[in-house]
């Protein structure tokens, strides 16, 4: 029963997340690139997506800190690494370049598959190839390399 409920929660959370992305404007690559264009015609409106999301998530995090375990699982699966290392910075810099080139990051790329547009499908396909390539080259690694 708990296992089934976990699946229902996953589907529902994914849906709310995808609906939130749709409402927020994050699915529009042109607008995302306008947000990143701080030295040009900067459109700061999408900063409010991050602000709203972090605010709501922060309240949730504070609540979970008082819980010994999640309601439907045996333990919290949170990243344990604390050190800022070269992998983190190099990977994030690579991500930023791809994000700036396209205006797409993983969540909006997946959600916009619903519209069936060829350009976003091409992006999503090569994004998955990039992830699979990483998995291939790092197959021996523990799952400590998963966070977002």
């Amino acid at each position: 029963m708990t296992a089934f409920l976990r699946l229902v929660v996953s589907l529902t959370c994914g849906l709310v997340f995808g609906f939130g992305l749709s409402l927020s404007g994050m699915l529009d690559p042109t607008r995302v690139r306008g947000f990143l264009d701080v030295f040009g015609h900067w459109d700061p409106s999408l900063a409010f997506v991050l602000a709203g999301a972090v605010a709501a998530s922060y309240v949730g995090i504070q609540m979970t800190k008082r819980m010994r375990k999640p309601i439907l699982a045996s333990s919290f699966d949170l990243p344990s690494k604390k050190q800022v290392d070269a992998r983190l910075l190099v990977g994030s810099a690579m991500f930023g370049v791809g994000w700036g080139m396209s205006g797409l990051c993983p969540g909006p790329a997946i959600a916009s598959l619903a519209l069936g547009l060829v350009p976003t499908m091409v992006f999503t396909a090569t994004m998955l190839v990039g992830m699979a390539l990483f998995a291939l080259l790092n197959f021996a690694g523990p799952k400590g390399v998963s966070n977002g």
């Binding site: 699946l7 589907l11 709203g52 709501a56 810099a93 791809g98 992006f123 992830m131 977002g148």
Partner: protein, 137 residues
Amino acid sequence: MAHYILPCLGGLLIGVSSAVFLALNGRVAGISGILGGILHKPTESWLSSILFVVGLVLGPLVYRSMLGTFPIVRVEGSLPILGVAGLLVGYGTRLGSGCTSGHGVSGLARLSPRSIAAVVTFLVSGAVTVSAMRAFA
């Protein structure tokens, strides 16, 4: 006004989704991590990850059924540019352990130093990339 209110509302929903996913299932709602986990190997949480991704795609469809139209998606750039960008985003988010959701939403909310460093890094490199592309266009 809607230009600022809708991002806030959408952001709140994204944050609530992340918080509920953590409180109930104990997992971080990080999209690149979820996708990477699906590609890595089937574990007990595999089906859960698949369903989260299915839900993500259903989001815009529910949006259309409620508001009568799909959200705006204006894609710029040629297919080769988008293809290279996809590779960088896919490999980079796995190497850097997260993307806008895992580091940006959940990580910042946890005040994680790694996530703060990651968010600053990808915002700066994203901004530099957009400016550089405009300069050379």
